[in-house]
Symmetry: C3
Subunit: 135 residues, 3 copies
């Protein structure tokens, strides 16, 4: 698998990684298959949503922080239970379809690392499964 490194800048920070994924595909010459994008952290997840208007992502960051407040009588002593919970709500991986060496995404879709306990240097793992042999 390939490894990406992403620096986040605030506690809650959604960073688009679509261009980094495209660069890997070009370098590895992956063409047709399924690409799994997996976040090996427990306080950062991944999601696909609109990348045209940044207010979509900022509205999401704020709404999720209202649904799961930072302080809520949690028992986990690190004080970041909210980040763990939001990570499970968005999920730890996305599966992307590749055809002709291109990620198949809708017009408005981008892939975002969603950090809920930044700022940190985060990792993203990328694995490709080809659709056709011989391999």
């Amino acid at each position: 698998m390939e490894v990406l490194f992403i620096n986040t800048n605030t506690r809650v920070d959604f960073v688009e990684i679509t261009p980094l994924l495209n660069r890997i595909i070009g370098e590895k010459e992956w063409s047709d298959g399924l690409m799994t994008v997996f976040v090996p952290h427990t306080t950062a997840g991944i999601t696909i949503n609109e990348n045209a208007d940044p207010s979509v992502v900022s509205d999401m960051e704020k709404m999720l922080s209202e649904i799961v407040p930072v302080h809520h009588g949690f028992t986990h002593l690190e004080g970041n239970s909210d980040a763990h919970i939001k990570t499970s709500m968005l999920g730890t991986s996305e599966q992307l379809i590749l055809e002709n060496g291109e990620i198949q995404l809708g017009t408005w879709q981008g892939v975002f690392l969603a950090d809920f306990d930044g700022p940190r240097r985060r990792k993203v793992w990328v694995k490709f499964i080809p659709a056709e042999g011989p391999r």
Copy 2:
């Protein structure tokens, strides 16, 4: 990949697509592997849940609309931030196991397109990765 078109009828509308997926599998003669079902939209997601009693899905539609209200001081000018957020909460794709040409689902499970900003004509993309060669 294959493309499905689904018409939704109300702003929030969960439409079961399991029969359409089964039809594709039959036509393409897919047998054993993994099927990725991906929604190329940012205000509609996908989920797997009970398809026997329609009140399950209607309870879910209502509860999600309480958790993420339509009007909540959002800044995104299109007025559909709630739909974007609910899409990320349910997710953009599902992965289904195929064996002997059949989707492996539990007794009560169905696959639903979850439109949060309808009514619209929506697309669903379907990609098959076989489990065994030669391919």
Copy 3:
């Protein structure tokens, strides 16, 4: 595909299944590819989160039960609509990267069956898609 059986002990119960997944990989001698872990139920989901401090999972169980209360004017007569909704929020499957016969997980990550309507005997299905031929 392979089948796991997991007994849950309370209505809401997150049970770590990482060791059971590792045992299957060893038995089947799977090495390099993608492993889909799918829950064939509609009131139990699956999630990846911290397995070091059990308070993370217990904080999550409690928070989700506040976001989606058991009693909330639901119409589904079985009285477990909250469990269906939480299942869709966490999701029905996880995709895991396998390399050198090992699940690739972050330092703090474990895979949990998340039962929201236990105690029950639950099933988990596991399917492996190899990354390279010949197959």
